[in-house]
Symmetry: C2
Subunit: 228 residues, 2 copies
């Protein structure tokens, strides 16, 4: 009841709608977010921002997010989920822009692919060392981070951040990075194996001067299930 009636139009009003995507990946420094920026204009640097773009006239929101991601990062087959819609009328200085935020999870191969690419306008940042972001994009990242952490507790979402074959230690690292706490190795393994959602491939990875680690495979790649 705080909006005076005259602020509402009886006729439908037209606004701009965009999608912005928080892309998460696991890097050497922990959890990372993919940022992009426009080239400098008149010598002044543009702020870093989330990948994103305007929704086309007959484009589904999900497709818009997928397409934006493909266009700006070259990656198109990753886990993508709608997060929240941000619509403060003053969030954009020039015009009314409502943004439907998404978040995406990339496996290590994709993280590397993007890092290896010589595009200075797109790069990974550790989530705890991001620069100031465009508009309210920092709020969007914070919300996405919370969602990711929450989903870890009741879904199999973690596998979207891993390669098709992974070791249990790698999986544990994903959990530890997102939850920001050390986990007990034995209890972790018991709990994960009890979920009955991964299986041994029978292969091993030799990786440094120590015993090789058994490789596992997530039974339903690409799918995220609820657990418990």
């Amino acid at each position: 009841m705080t909006t005076p009636t005259e602020l509402r139009s009886t006729a439908p009003w037209l606004v701009h709608v965009s999608t912005d995507i928080v892309v998460f990946g696991i890097g050497h420094t922990g959890l990372q977010v993919l940022l992009r920026r426009h080239p400098p204009r008149d010598g002044v640097a543009a702020p870093w921002a989330l990948p994103g773009g305007y929704v086309g006239p007959v484009e589904h929101l999900d497709r818009s997010a997928e397409h934006t991601l493909a266009q700006q990062t070259g990656v198109d087959d990753v886990y993508l989920e709608q997060l929240y819609t941000f619509g403060r009328p003053d969030r954009h200085p020039a015009s009314r822009v409502i943004t439907v935020a998404y978040y995406a999870l990339m496996p290590p191969r994709r993280v590397q692919e993007i890092r290896a690419r010589p595009t200075p306008e797109v790069r990974w940042y550790p989530i705890d060392r991001m620069p100031d972001l465009y508009l309210d994009h920092t709020d969007i990242v914070v919300l996405a981070r919370r969602r990711l952490e929450a989903k870890l507790a009741y879904s199999t979402i973690a596998f979207q951040l891993l390669a098709a074959e992974f070791t249990l230690s790698e999986l544990q690292q994903v959990y530890e990075i997102i939850l920001c706490e050390k986990l007990d190795k034995r209890n972790f393994r018991k709990r994960i194996l009890a979920l009955d959602c991964i299986e041994e491939t029978g292969r091993k990875r030799r990786d440094g001067s120590h015993r090789p680690a058994g490789l596992y495979r997530y039974k339903s790649p690409g799918e995220v299930h609820f657990i418990k």
Copy 2:
């Protein structure tokens, strides 16, 4: 990568944005949803729909939902939470309309207030006996129902469906109605009291030919907390 490039505009495109609200209340028949419809036009009845309306030019999305609710139901101080944004390009036959869906929870007094009002274009329906709804509104209700059920497990959201003073049996009924299962009285009381989020008022309610029930109060009315 399914959207041809020509479907996306380089210049920002303008679309209509609306908010639709799934209003839940507990009635004698269980969980109910508030629906409205426009008056018949040319003798043909309009379909039932969720309360909702277009977002004003400088109106915050949340304010839009609140205001729409106040305008169409006369109720303005209930729990309201953003649910999901629906944006299929073909969801509206005439123009591109993206809707930001919300859900609201009303205490019994509000449910009664609305039921008592002589407005045939706004009424409660048991959630399992709703008529066919306008556009994709049935999908929206289904999603809201799922969200409500999920939140029951990890938040104190149930109190938003109760009066300021309530009995433990009433609270248990709310849980049973939303979860669609009978709960054990003793275990339920233990679990709720262990949350330490309600307190006895010291008063009792005489209500029929049986022992009076103790009345309780939620310690942080209007607020929803995470639990466990």
